[in-house]
């Protein structure tokens, strides 16, 4: 089973996306989508060596809702910064966020979340995988911003990946 379906979640997701792209249900579409959904995970299995256990339950849903809400709020905040703040009053800063997450997938999700919420862009990871480099457009107190990101996103991701 592991050989044919190395990543069942990915297979299900690819098939779902394929059917949504076709936008109509047909037997031909299902068969072709099914073939791709089985072949793609087999050929990309080498990129996913440890497949951390994700809990596809309430915590993940709550995390996604929180991120969507934060994206909307932060958009208005950054729009205000762009329109009404003079450039020399901006306080851009690099933040090195110490990571408690260990799996590559979890760190990728955290970095993506940080980039999508406007005002912060994740730039790099340290070679030992213990710090994430983030650029922030305007921060008054870097230490407080780091604590905020860790408490708001990383703690929830640790509940999802374990």
């Amino acid at each position: 089973m592991r050989r044919i379906l190395p990543h069942p979640g990915l297979t299900a997701m690819l098939l779902l996306i394929w059917l949504l792209m076709l936008n109509s249900f047909s037997m031909g579409g299902l068969v072709l989508g099914g073939i791709f959904a089985v072949l793609v995970p087999i050929y990309t299995a080498a990129f996913w060596p440890d497949r951390p256990g994700m809990r596809w339950r309430l915590p993940l849903l709550l995390f996604l809702l929180l991120v969507v809400r934060d994206i909307i709020v932060a958009n208005f905040h950054v729009a205000r910064l762009i329109l009404f703040r003079r450039n020399r009053d901006l306080r851009p800063s690099w933040l090195a966020i110490p990571l408690d997450l260990h799996s590559a997938e979890a760190i990728t999700l955290l970095a993506g979340t940080i980039s999508l919420t406007p005002g912060t862009v994740s730039a790099d990871i340290s070679t030992d995988g213990r710090h994430l480099l983030v650029h922030a457009l305007d921060v008054a107190d870097p230490a407080a911003e780091i604590a905020h990101i860790k408490a708001r996103y990383e703690r929830r991701l640790m509940e999802i990946f374990r």
């Binding site: 060596p49 729009a79 762009i82 090195a96 590559a104 994740s122 730039a123 070679t127 650029h135 457009l137």
Partner: protein, 149 residues
């Protein structure tokens, strides 16, 4: 014109205006902000709320005018949310490389090089850690020697 259609029209127009406004503000930020790293914050706005509102407007428009509902808007959102952080990340990495190879003395401190992380590590753009590669890539990491340079 029924009451439902008027409500749908108002919602669609509002969402389109909101999306357009955010795309405009994002582009204005791209032109106005002082340095490459702060400019990078402009495009992330346009893709999230700007494009998001236009897509929701499209999802309301087609069913309201009797066309078939499509899931394509959801897929566009998904693909944008996957690709936007990656392109921003690559631009940031290119900037870091530029900072190290051609340091700009005039750049403000916060926009120049970030300080190196603790514990003798370096940022991954500049250095490699065999232990971490092994942890992330496992044994498959050694399968393609041409990727190691």
């Amino acid at each position: 014109m029924s009451g439902g259609m008027i409500i749908a029209d108002v919602v669609i127009s509002g969402l389109l205006l909101l999306g357009g406004a955010f795309a405009l503000i994002g582009s204005w930020g791209l032109a106005k902000l002082p340095s490459l790293m702060s400019r990078l914050h402009g495009p992330t706005k346009a893709t999230t709320l700007g494009v998001g509102s236009c897509l929701i407007a499209s999802m309301v428009y087609f069913p309201a005018y009797g066309h078939a509902w499509t899931a394509h808007e959801l897929l566009i959102t998904l693909f944008l949310f996957i690709t936007a952080p990656i392109s921003a990340n690559l631009i940031a990495k290119a900037y870091l490389h530029g900072c190290r190879t051609e340091p700009d003395e005039n750049a403000p401190a916060a926009e120049g090089m970030p300080v190196a992380p603790p514990h003798d590590a370096d940022w991954a753009t500049f250095g490699r850690d065999e232990e971490l590669e092994e942890m992330i890539l496992g044994e498959t990491g050694d399968a393609s020697p041409e990727r190691r340079s």
